[in-house]
Amino acid sequence: MSVARGFGEEVRTGRLLADLVASLFRVTTGFMLAVVLGIPVGLWLGHHVRSRFALLPAINFFRSLSPLAWIPFAILWFGIGDLPAIFLIFMACFFPLVLATVAAVANIPSVYFRVARDYRFSGVELLTKVTLPAIAPQVITSLRVTAGLAWLVVVAAEMIAGRDGLGFAIWDARNGLRMDLLIVGMIVIGFIGMVIDRVLTRLTKISSIRWGYER
């Protein structure tokens, strides 16, 4: 009952919506940055064996660091607000995405490249018509995982380096001993996580991608 009342209160004052928008903005920006940079890096490392051997240990090193360990640096470098949260989300998503893309590229059956040669695919066409569609299913799976990760990290980031957002709302509720608001925050977070995954699962239904899940 008190949770429902707390929910109503949060909606009426508009605070819930504001927090939600703040968190979603950070997640989207950080996640998109990781996607836009991580997938190309993964593609490049996937195709170049030498650079892969050189850089993979470093990537594994950074991947093993909990993004939360970066919180002090995030605050030091970016202060309080959107930037540190975006930075932390990026750090959480970038390395797993690189690794997943590298693995996906390495998994492409070599026969596809031989076929591509027979049918005169090269350069950009080879990338857009062979490599990218071949890795799409695996990359989408890792997008689902890392999007979940981003949503986890934003809450933690906002608790410490935020003045708003769902994470801060939970922290604030805890400080004010408002267990009802805390639970409201948790329910909203869980629910949004579900919605994000739903949206990404949609991608797996695209007809040129479904093969990866039905074999």
Partner: protein, 240 residues
């Protein structure tokens, strides 16, 4: 135009210390259907890799004059493309209307008009190999390399696809090199059969089969050829 589009002169191939071919020479005429049989690991696929340019010989020359396409054992269709899109890959470079027309003809030829919009994973093994053949035969190509194209199929489907291949080649003549474990397949399809020895492989016997395709599997000449190959491989007694 060259009437010996595929040629190996004195070609040698080594994988590390393993000698696969030692000064092998081979000529294949335009429009000829050559089958290569031999024990496993004797270098049959290596021969195709030489022709497709995937592999360079350690010494000697390989000539391959013409556009080459290879059909592999299985699963080399792009799974993210429909049957029609896969076949259309073979028609790249044609204008849109030409491509559509030829695509229709190819689908017609393999009898899969109704499955044009299906993805490979929605097709049976036999249908997939039909699409592979259509993709390789579509458009202007000269040379068809077949790397055990039917080996992953069940026996009856294999027999059916042999007939279809013979029929397709009648419509769209190509110079064909077929590498196979299936001795019957070689005898039923090829104009000339090369029996390779163990490594380093040499051609230990050449058999001509002058019989129009499609041939019955039980045609006396086909049976006789099967027997001759088996005898050469030491699997049947050589009765004259």
């Amino acid at each position: 135009m060259n009437d010996k589009p595929l040629r190996i002169e004195d070609g040698s191939v080594n994988f590390g210390s393993v000698e696969v071919f030692r000064s092998l020479s081979l000529e294949i005429s335009r429009g000829e259907f050559v089958a290569v049989v031999g024990p496993s690991g004797c270098g049959k696929t290596t021969l195709l890799n030489l022709f497709s340019g995937f592999l360079k010989p350690a010494s000697g020359t390989v000539v391959c004059a013409g556009r080459v396409r290879t059909v592999y054992q299985q699963d080399s269709l792009f799974p993210w493309q429909t049957a029609a899109q896969n076949i259309a890959m073979g028609l790249r470079g044609l204008s849109e209307s030409e491509c559509a027309r030829e695509l229709k003809e190819m689908l017609d030829l393999i009898g899969l008009e109704q499955f044009a919009e299906h993805y490979p994973h929605q097709l049976s093994g036999g249908m997939r190999q039909r699409v592979e053949l259509a993709r390789a035969l579509a458009g202007a190509t000269d040379i068809l390399l077949l790397d055990e194209p039917f080996s992953s199929l069940d026996y009856l489907t294999r027999l059916r696809l042999r007939r279809e291949l013979a029929r397709m080649l009648k419509e769209l003549p190509r110079t064909v090199v077929l590498v196979t474990h299936d001795i019957e397949e070689a005898a039923q399809l090829a104009d000339r059969i090369l029996v390779l020895s163990d490594r380093p492989a040499r051609i230990c016997r050449e058999l001509q089969v002058t019989l129009p395709r499609p041939r019955e599997l039980t045609h006396p000449l086909v049976v006789k050829t099967v027997h001759a190959i088996l005898a050469e491989l030491g699997l049947e007694k050589d009765v004259v």
